[in-house]
Symmetry: C2
Subunit: 198 residues, 2 copies
């Protein structure tokens, strides 16, 4: 199994974190995103979006972090994706939250601040802040986003919530989020990324 990843990409980190927590062996292909390796003709045949992450496992190619972590969990780590309708519906709800509030709010704010991407910071921060309020309220009295064990919902939401301060969205007031971050960091096999210390 080969994972195409970028060192500072929170989306790539979702896959690397799941693979680390489950102890699954894989080959890492780390692309230089500043040099635009993700836009090369060769890589566009793997992922027409020109983005990391992408995964190749035998004859299967999957792109997008959500597709990749779903594939990995179903094939190699089913405990991370309980398939009963109630749990799965809610996991997919939070996976969508990861693709909306986390990505277009928190991650875009980080990209504006860190690498000067051309989005409206006030708008992305408002979107991200709304997301932080929702996830923090949900975590009151809960250990994990869905059910009694960590799932793909936690994996999908964790990176850009933990990186939110890099987009000047501070977590100081969010006790539920801070405790949840600590719980995830305490999982056996946890790995960090730039901006998220183990």
């Amino acid at each position: 199994m080969k994972l195409y990843s970028g060192p500072a990409s929170g989306n790539s980190y979702k896959a690397r974190l799941l693979l680390a927590l489950t102890g699954i062996e894989y080959e890492l292909a780390s692309l230089n995103l500043q040099k635009g390796e993700q836009k090369s003709p060769k890589f566009l045949k793997i992922n027409p979006r020109g983005q990391v992450p992408a995964l190749i496992d035998g004859d299967v190619t999957v792109w997008d972090s959500q597709g990749i972590i779903t594939y990995i969990a179903l094939k190699y780590a089913p405990d991370w994706l309980p398939l009963d309708p109630k749990h799965m519906g809610k996991i997919m709800q939070w996976m969508a939250f990861a693709e909306n509030e986390c990505l277009y709010g928190m991650a875009r704010s980080r990209a504006v601040v860190r690498i000067n991407r051309p989005w409206n910071l006030e708008e992305t921060q408002a979107h991200g802040e709304a997301g932080l309020k929702i996830i923090n309220a949900h975590l009151q009295g809960r250990q994990w986003l869905v059910g009694q064990m960590p799932t793909l919902a936690d994996i999908a939401c964790f990176p850009y919530v933990a990186l939110a301060p890099e987009g000047n969205l501070l977590l100081d007031g969010y006790a539920g989020i801070q405790a949840w971050i600590s719980r995830i960091k305490a999982l056996p096999g946890f790995v960090g990324m730039p901006g998220i210390d183990p």
Copy 2:
């Protein structure tokens, strides 16, 4: 099963379309989004995002179109969500595409043009157009986005692709998309919405 929906919401339509195609009976609660009924304190207890759609089925509440159609398919219409890793990974890849290119590209362009939302139309259209190219290329030689049958991937991507012209993203040059739209409209039980004629 009660679905909270908005008449002009493509995200709500994903759930209504799946329910129509599968013949599942449900109660429809149509909110007046112009009047802000989705922001009422009562509704915020159902969905803290203050958005449609949301679903209540017995003791289960799910929000976000992706969470809702996953829940409905798993519980009542499993043919729409094959759970083997290869198919499921790719379905989740396209569900993520629906939450990115379709929502932040095509749907946001439509919202700027139709109801004057404050996003940068040039940027949202470029995002949407990139998505149309990817999905059109993928549909060359394929009937459906994943595998040999329609799945949640098609349900998730269809609404905002079909509504793209309302955001001034024309489909004239995209033969693969046009044929796919015709195939979806020909499915038994198909229902439309404003902007998508049966």
